[in-house]
Amino acid sequence: MTPDTLFQIASPLAMAGWLLLALAPLVPRWADTLAGFILPALLSLLYTGVILGHWWQGQGGFDSLANVMALLSNPWMALAGWVHFLAFDLFIGGWITRRARTEGVSHLLVLPCLLLTFLFGPIGLILFLSIAATRRLLHPLRSEV
């Protein structure tokens, strides 16, 4: 198994999850269990395996930007980093979808948050948090229920 093969496996798994989240109003159960839980768990398992099996060949460290770059210059560590992105971004996407449902945020507003989380992780998260905060500011009664 090469890092390239695992990369080819991991990316479609995440894509499937994002597709389910985008269609969440139609398939809420699938979105919650598969995209919000099982797929991030599978990606986390893959990450764990990669780290256990290949951490020994990593160089560099976490203490400086140069060392982090050195660490990620190894293909196995770069794969691990990428799967880390995929797993955590998807988990955040699932959280946004569930949170939006309980707070009554329209899916029309959730979609750009999901797209941005998919592409640029934290930008999508901060957009959703901003939308949620704005709603709380404007409708204090509703959100306190």
Partner: protein
């Protein structure tokens, strides 16, 4: 719903919180206004991290200015919405209109922010057919989003119960209406020019903070005045409302409005002639 005073908000009548009390009458515009205000934080951060310049200014300064201006515009509309006829903001036609206005604001911001990100011009960009076509479309969007002030002005004028003081109502309606008319006039002319500056030589002398040229004509000054009619004239109406004679108050609103229009058109004429309003 019949009691519409400065402190009443249809959605949460007895709630003491400041933001719903100020802006709760139009939560759609208020929400987007607040989001644009929040967006100024990462935009400022980008400005400090990104060394690129555009026309001798930080490349992110323009998106930052538009976030501030559009946020203020939307929050002002949300504030004035308390004077609209009861139920107007729940009507189907109005909701579609508000949705279109929100779409236009988002499109303008995406265009201006996107241009900054990729280091190109947004307004006056005719370098290729695509950017030229987008520029034209954005002009249409800008007129559409500004038309909300005219719609509000007319609706408030036609609903005396919403704002019983005649001088104050006149000032709010006139200010909102003039924002549309003057802005479309000035910005429409500006859009037909190669840029916001008229004349040469430009070495970079500017009014502090506002950035208007102190050497040549700058069409952004009349645009600024035009767009803030909705703030200046209602403030005058608020003061005039304290006069004992309501006829005098109404006359004062008309007189100050005429003066403000003259000021805007005067600065517009100066800019067209290539003369700075604030010389060196």
């Amino acid at each position: 719903m019949s009691d519409i005073s400065l402190s009443s908000v249809p959605r949460a009548p007895a709630h003491p919180r400041l933001i719903p009390r100020l802006f709760g009458a139009e939560p759609r515009f208020a929400a987007l206004g607040l989001l644009l205000a929040l967006a100024m934080i990462p935009t400022t951060l980008a400005m400090t991290l990104d060394p690129r310049q555009f026309q001798a200014e930080a490349i992110w300064l323009k998106p930052l200015k538009f976030e501030l201006a559009l946020s203020l515009y939307l929050l002002s509309l949300a504030f004035f919405a308390r004077f609209l006829p009861p139920g107007m903001t729940d009507g189907r036609g109005y909701r579609i209109f508000a949705g279109v206005v929100i779409f236009c604001v988002l499109a303008e911001m995406a265009w201006i922010g996107g241009a900054a990100m990729f280091g190109t011009a947004s307004h006056f960009n005719l370098t290729d057919p695509v950017m030229g076509a987008i520029y034209g479309l954005m002009g249409l969007f800008a007129v559409t989003l500004t038309s909300a002030s005219l719609v509000y002005g007319i609706a408030i004028w036609r609903h005396p119960a919403g704002l019983p003081d005649p001088a104050l109502r006149l000032s709010v309606a006139l200010g909102l209406g003039l924002t549309f008319v003057l802005t479309v006039l000035v910005a429409g002319y500006m859009a037909g020019q190669p840029g916001h500056l008229v004349g040469t030589p430009v070495t970079g002398a500017k009014v502090p903070l506002m950035g208007w040229s102190r050497e040549v004509g700058d069409l952004r000054l009349p645009h600024f005045l035009a767009t803030h009619a909705m703030h200046v004239i209602p403030l005058v109406g608020l003061l005039a409302g304290r006069m004992r004679s309501s006829r005098l108050a109404i006359w004062s609103v008309w007189a100050v409005s005429a003066g403000f229009v003259a000021l805007t058109l005067g600065s517009f004429a100066l800019a067209i002639m290539g003369l700075p309003a604030f010389a060196l």
